[in-house]
């Protein structure tokens, strides 16, 4: 049986971006949040280090400095109009979260405390600055909890454990979504004047990642299959400090508080790569430095394949009070005592800079000429505004999700108040129904898990921190073969109740799409910029490449590329040195 619902605003995803949008829209129009996870399970909850805003509570600061750092950190690919909005609104965003009850750590004067974070500096690169507002090392947890609490206070409606399968489009206008209810196996049609996607990242395409099992790019996947473009997919951030083998994140705050990266000889190698800010250089640089150290045989351990995060010189009280969770991760998962020894770390796939292209009001772009899709919005990690360009600075994502989630919610309110409810054809759900039925028909030749593992290894080996034409071509070819194998697989479990084999199966399909988009975009970009580093094109080339990639799946299924100019502003591209 199919069920029908009608709303003014439907928000897909209940992480920080989705809940910020829901709060903004929910106060004004009939709003529903549809999420495959209970809201508090969203990956925003794992964010540790902080959210930047130039409050200047601890040291002199200004939003322009924050904007400069963001643009420089992005390797000049960020759109500077969007960056200005984000850094200006950061201050109100943090203060508003405080008013909602977020328990930020405090200064001795009782103000919101701030700490250092990679790439954030005073006066255009002069020295590191204390800009990150934080709640111990569970800032994301507190943001997620606070927003969830406020949504409940405001009476926002939630559809939890509803898996969104498709976007309804009527004559080029967004008309709603189709979702699958995990508890019952029923399909739900949500008609809506406006829809916002806030489905998070897709780090699960890599073997070593800080991302949750559920971060599979469902939102961008749906968009890509609809023939709409994705932007800057080649830029994927590797965070320097993931727990060895596991990828679980140890926040940059560890280095912000004085932690140091060392190689097997105990050498503080970042001094050689970024003499001014050393261990607090942006993530892409530190990750590459770590790769070089390992490649040069200076990695630690039996196989010389990791480096050490040294916290032994940090005041033990600071470690226990300000970094309690991450020290516990090292103890629990690696059996390592961070107060006494270095913690084995490797770069871990962390953050998708690319995603669904949007305006600064979260409106989704139809193409690289900046036409929009009426009624359709996206925000958060699944979107690309673009404020992070080729490399995101730490603490700027929590900021992005709150600022642009809210802007999206406000834009939806405005749109829904002035536009009629689009008609949805009676058979709107049939396509999804047939799709699910076909997945559950016939025998399954091999476990999807095997195909997934191969993809994750391939992406790690050939499309991660260092890439080149050969490795990317090989990755593209294997993705093609894996997609063929995947097309032959079927869901064995035919149950209607909590069939997570079905949802995992669908999720993997989206991951394959994300991997394809990443690799094809990366192959075309014959330069190095931010998180995209090619050892066959080591230089940044602004004449050719100061532009955003737009990738679209054509009718025949083959991807095609187009480009959109970067919006420049006060800062002209210069070499990025720290």
């Amino acid at each position: 049986m199919t069920r029908y619902h009608t709303y003014d605003a439907v928000i897909v995803g209940a992480g920080g971006a989705g809940l910020s949008a829901a709060l903004a829209a929910g106060k004004n129009v009939k709003t529903a949040v549809v999420s495959k996870l209970y809201p508090t399970r969203s990956h925003t909850g794992t964010a540790q280090g902080g959210m930047c805003a130039a409050l200047a509570n601890v040291e002199d600061d200004s939003w322009e400095w924050h904007a400069f750092d963001t643009v420089k950190g992005s390797d000049f690919l960020a759109d500077q109009d969007a960056v200005d909005i984000m850094c200006k609104e950061a201050v109100t965003a943090v203060l508003e979260l405080e008013r909602m009850g977020l328990p930020f750590n405090r200064t001795p004067e009782g103000r919101i405390d701030q700490r250092r974070f990679g790439g954030h500096t005073r006066d255009h690169g002069e020295a590191p600055v204390k800009r990150a507002c934080y709640a111990a090392d569970r800032t994301g947890h507190m943001i997620l909890q606070t927003l969830y609490q406020q949504c409940n206070k405001e009476g926002v409606e939630f559809f939890n454990e509803f898996f969104v399968l498709d976007l309804l489009m009527v004559e080029g206008t967004c008309a709603g979504i189709i979702a699958y209810e995990l508890a019952t196996g029923e399909l739900h049609v949500f008609r809506s004047r406006s829809v916002l996607f806030a489905t998070g990242g897709y780090g699960k395409m890599f073997k070593i990642t800080s991302n949750a099992h559920t971060l599979t790019g469902d939102g961008p996947g749906v968009v890509y299959r609809k023939g709409l473009p994705l932007e800057d997919m080649e830029f994927f951030q590797f965070h320097p400090t993931g727990l060895y083998r596991l990828g679980i994140l140890l926040s940059e705050a560890a280095r912000g508080e004085g932690g140091i990266l060392r190689n097997k000889d105990g050498e503080r190698f970042m001094e050689n790569y970024a003499p001014t800010i050393k261990d607090l250089a942006p993530r892409d640089m530190v990750s590459r430095a770590m790769f070089s150290e390992i490649k040069a045989g200076r990695g630690a351990g039996e196989d010389n394949d990791y480096l050490l995060l040294d916290l032994t010189e940090v005041d033990p009280e600071v470690v226990e009070k300000k970094l309690p969770d991450i020290t516990e991760f090292a103890r629990t998962y690696l059996d390592v005592e961070p107060l006494e020894e270095g913690v084995p770390v490797v770069p871990t796939a962390h953050y998708a800079m690319g995603g669904i292209p949007t305006t600064v009001d979260a409106e989704v772009l139809r193409d690289h000429r900046a036409e929009t899709v009426p009624g359709f919005y996206a925000a958060g990690e699944c979107a690309c505004v673009s404020v992070h360009g080729a490399n995101r600075l730490g603490t700027n994502s929590l900021l992005d999700i709150v600022v642009f989630g809210r802007r999206g919610g406000l834009a939806m309110t405005e749109y829904a108040s002035t536009h009629p409810l689009p008609d949805v054809p009676e058979d709107a759900h049939e396509h999804a129904e047939k799709w699910l039925a076909s997945l559950m028909e016939g025998d399954n030749p091999e476990p999807v898990a095997d195909i997934r593992e191969t993809l994750q290894q391939e992406m790690m080996d050939k499309a991660s921190v260092v890439r080149n034409e050969d490795s990317l071509t090989q990755a593209r070819d294997s993705i093609g073969k894996l997609a063929e194998r995947y097309a032959g697989t079927r869901v064995r479990d035919r149950s209607k109740v909590f069939n997570t084999e079905l949802t995992e199966h669908i999720e993997f399909g989206y991951l394959l799409d994300m991997a394809e988009a990443l690799v094809v975009s990366a192959l075309a970009r014959t330069e190095s910029r931010g998180g995209h580093y090619r050892d066959d094109h080591e230089m940044r080339e602004d004449e050719h490449w100061l532009k955003h990639t737009f990738i679209t799946k054509g009718d025949g299924g083959d991807p095609s590329l187009a480009y959109k100019d970067v919006t420049l502003g006060r800062y002209t591209p210069v070499e990025r040195k720290y």
Binding site: L37, Y38, T46, R99, F104, R111, Q149, T332, V497
Partner: protein, 234 residues
């Protein structure tokens, strides 16, 4: 090494009662129980139903009973548990399928205590942040850690026999606000928690404190809420 798991299975579409199935798999001593369950699901029986997301003890999806003890499957390592490893769903909430229970009653209990900041309407909106001293912030630090995994509530013998009881997690949620210097809703919440399904149902069994994967002193928080209700001191 070889690891044997005994997993409780139940599919409401054809089973009347739950039963156990055993699976022997290859695992590493440092693997999480969640990794073992994935081995089963991905390579042995794809129909096994469980919830999980972050895989490192933060999202609160995978509270289960592991060898008789409530824990997160992603936070217990093979090396730390005896074999065969028995895995059951948490108790006291309606069973949906295999290791999945209906969490809606749990979340309703949590929301019943109004777990959101209730500002004092009489106070003018501050232009900047409200001032809160580090000590005032510290007062409720412990209870801000809650990830709503339900490990505490579903380890509570009172909750097993009476699901009208709001349970430890909800009281922890209330504590987090009652002792926040910025909150003015203490009285409302205390009223709710002084009722027949509130904090005074707690018989200080301490199961909840032992079960909390975040190390929150749950029983202590409940005691503090009871004290606040009795003496109005918060």
């Amino acid at each position: 090494m070889q690891v044997t798991l005994r997993v409780q299975r139940f599919n409401p579409e054809h089973d009347t009662d739950p039963h156990f199935e055993s699976y022997t798999i290859d695992a590493d001593a440092m693997d999480r129980i969640l990794d073992c369950l994935h081995q089963v699901k991905w390579y042995r029986d794809s129909s096994l139903a469980l919830r999980r997301s972050c895989a490192h003890g933060i999202c609160g999806s995978d509270a289960m009973v592991i060898n008789g003890v409530n824990a997160l499957a992603c936070k217990v390592l093979v090396k730390d548990v005896k074999q065969p490893i028995t895995v059951e769903p948490i108790r006291g909430l309606p069973l949906t399928k295999d290791l999945v229970v209906d969490m809606d009653p749990f979340f309703s209990g949590y929301l019943a205590v109004k777990p959101w900041l209730i500002a004092d309407d009489a106070e003018p909106e501050p232009e900047r942040e409200r001032i809160q001293s580090a000590a005032e912030r510290e007062r409720f630090d412990d209870t801000t850690k809650c990830i709503l995994c339900a490990a505490c509530t579903t380890s509570c013998p009172i909750f097993w026999s009476d699901q009208e009881y709001v349970g430890p997690a909800a009281i922890v949620g209330a504590h987090r606000f009652i002792f926040d210097s910025r909150d003015a809703g203490g009285r409302e919440r205390i009223e709710i928690l002084s009722g027949k399904n509130g904090a005074f149902k707690c018989r200080t069994a301490f199961n909840c404190t032992a079960a909390c994967p975040r190390g929150i002193e749950v029983t202590k928080a409940i005691q503090e809420v009871k004290q606040a209700a009795l003496f109005g001191s918060f």
